[in-house]
């Protein structure tokens, strides 16, 4: 039983660990990209311009309404198609290229993450009490100073619980990239199952690994929240 998960040619421990490494790399790469797009979209939905606001709201509504796996396929197949069509136009005799599944995974997961993150960030911006902004204005701060000195430092605190949930969703959604042939934890498990014919054992181990990641993340998040709220008086 245990030799199945040992290192080396007999066991599957090393394969599963390298799959886990891909899963973690994917999640950690997606997070900053998704946050950046999320900030941009939140900015759009908070804009005073009606057209820009519609754009932001449209993006969040669309991306939150589509299944993640559909987004992934649209990005993977669509961007691949566009890439090859563009390439064929520029270099008519070049062969077709493969769009890297890792890049497709990062782009698709970041687009989904951004839509949910934009909503969390928008809520966090609006959660800053009106009185503080008025106080800033009263002592003669410019709108820019109010943004950098009052709104942004508190954003972190208000957005943290929502962001924690989104991080857990992101970790779990990475499993989808196994469908487009990226060798993540899920796919490494599938390969092991194909050889050992022990599907339940291996998928259970994969589930336990994801579970462990989520539980550790939750503990980390609780610490972060504690730290973010250290200057706040408890009721």
């Amino acid at each position: 039983m245990f030799e199945l998960f040992s290192y080396g040619p007999l066991g599957w421990g090393d394969e599963i660990l390298s799959g886990l490494w891909v899963t973690l790399r994917l999640a950690v790469t997606t997070l900053p990209v998704g946050l950046l797009i999320g900030f941009a979209v939140a900015g759009l939905s908070l804009s005073h311009n009606r057209g820009l606001r519609a754009l932001g709201v449209g993006y969040t509504t669309l991306m939150r309404g589509l299944p993640e796996i559909l987004t992934l396929f649209i990005v993977y197949n669509g961007v691949g198609l566009l890439l090859n069509r563009g390439l064929a136009a520029v270099f008519p005799d070049a062969g077709p290229v493969e769009f890297s599944p890792f890049a497709a995974g990062v782009v698709a997961l970041a687009m989904v993450f951004a839509a949910f993150a934009a909503e969390v960030l928008r809520g966090a911006f609006l959660a800053v009490p009106e009185g503080q902004i008025m106080a800033g204005r009263a002592i003669g701060m410019t709108p820019r100073q109010i943004f950098w000195r009052i709104k942004l430092p508190q954003l972190w605190r208000f957005a943290l619980p929502g962001m924690g949930n989104l991080w857990l969703n992101l970790l779990k959604d990475t499993a989808l990239v196994s469908v487009i042939a990226l060798d993540d934890l899920m796919r490494a498990t599938k390969v092991a199952v194909g050889v050992t014919k022990q599907p339940f054992t291996f998928y259970l181990v994969a589930c336990l690994i994801y579970w462990l990641l989520c539980v550790v993340s939750e503990l980390g998040m609780a610490k972060l929240e504690q730290r973010a709220n250290r200057g706040v008086r408890r009721a």
Binding site: N77, P199, T201, Y203, A206, V215
Partner: protein, 235 residues
């Protein structure tokens, strides 16, 4: 025009896919909705010992990707083929549609239990005391006061959960169920006609919008006794 051609050529398959998606989501959500109330009550009022297995179940479901859960049941059941055959359950587990419904029900039940627990705990204690004071039995307090109120509080969150389940049901296509996503991938792999993804996205959004409208109507009916009690603009 290519867009319209794609729809004209493929609408029977896409419509069939929509039917399967609705069946997967509806059956999963319904089974979960039947199992959730007693579990939510246990989670809200049960002893710590009775709650322990329930907490582990909910944490496991929330901490693992639904794709991994699906693989665990669909492929994992193969490891117990002999045992399942002797129990007469093998024909059930061999069918990917059954496995998908089972996984969606187990998954959604965990989320619905947590949502409903929140609703139960939000019922004002004074109302329960009032019920006891006029001589209602424990069961009658639950049936006439706690649950009607808890459902009204939890209703919007339950709707969100069903939308999430509908999006997750697209994963069934990975285990060869021909739901909307499965049909879309089938059509794309045969024709490389990218516009089919556009129709899939439009159909998923249309299903979400219809559901949101129906759910709001139901919510209004659930709170029909409260209309006119709050001033307009206040909710």
């Amino acid at each position: 025009m290519a867009l319209i051609d794609t729809l004209v050529q493929n609408w029977p398959k896409l419509l069939d896919g929509v039917g399967t998606t609705l069946a997967l989501t509806g059956m999963g959500a319904l089974i979960a909705a039947i199992a959730a109330p007693p579990l939510a009550l246990l989670r809200a009022q049960g002893s710590a010992l009775a709650q322990a297995p329930l907490r582990v179940y909910i944490s496991f479901i929330r901490g693992t990707p639904i794709l991994a859960q699906l693989f665990l049941v669909f492929y994992g059941s193969g490891q117990f083929r002999v045992e399942l055959q002797s129990l007469g359950l093998w024909t059930f587990f061999r069918d990917p549609f059954n496995c998908a419904v089972l996984v969606f029900a187990i998954n959604s039940c965990a989320y619905q239990t947590e949502i409903l627990r929140g609703g139960i705990q939000a019922v004002a204690p004074g109302e329960i005391e009032a019920g006891r004071a006029i001589g209602m039995s424990r069961l009658m307090v639950l049936r006439r006061i706690v649950f009607p109120h808890a459902y009204r509080i939890a209703w919007p969150a339950l709707g969100n959960e069903i939308i999430l389940l509908m999006k997750a049901s697209a994963l069934a296509s990975v285990v060869t169920v021909f739901d909307l996503m499965g049909r879309t991938r089938q059509i794309f792999s045969r024709s490389f006609d990218f516009s089919v993804y556009f129709w899939a996205a439009a159909l998923y959004l249309a299903m979400t919008v219809c559901f949101v409208v129906l759910w709001r109507l139901a919510e209004r009916r659930l709170s029909r006794h409260m209309t006119g009690q709050t001033p307009q603009g206040v909710q």
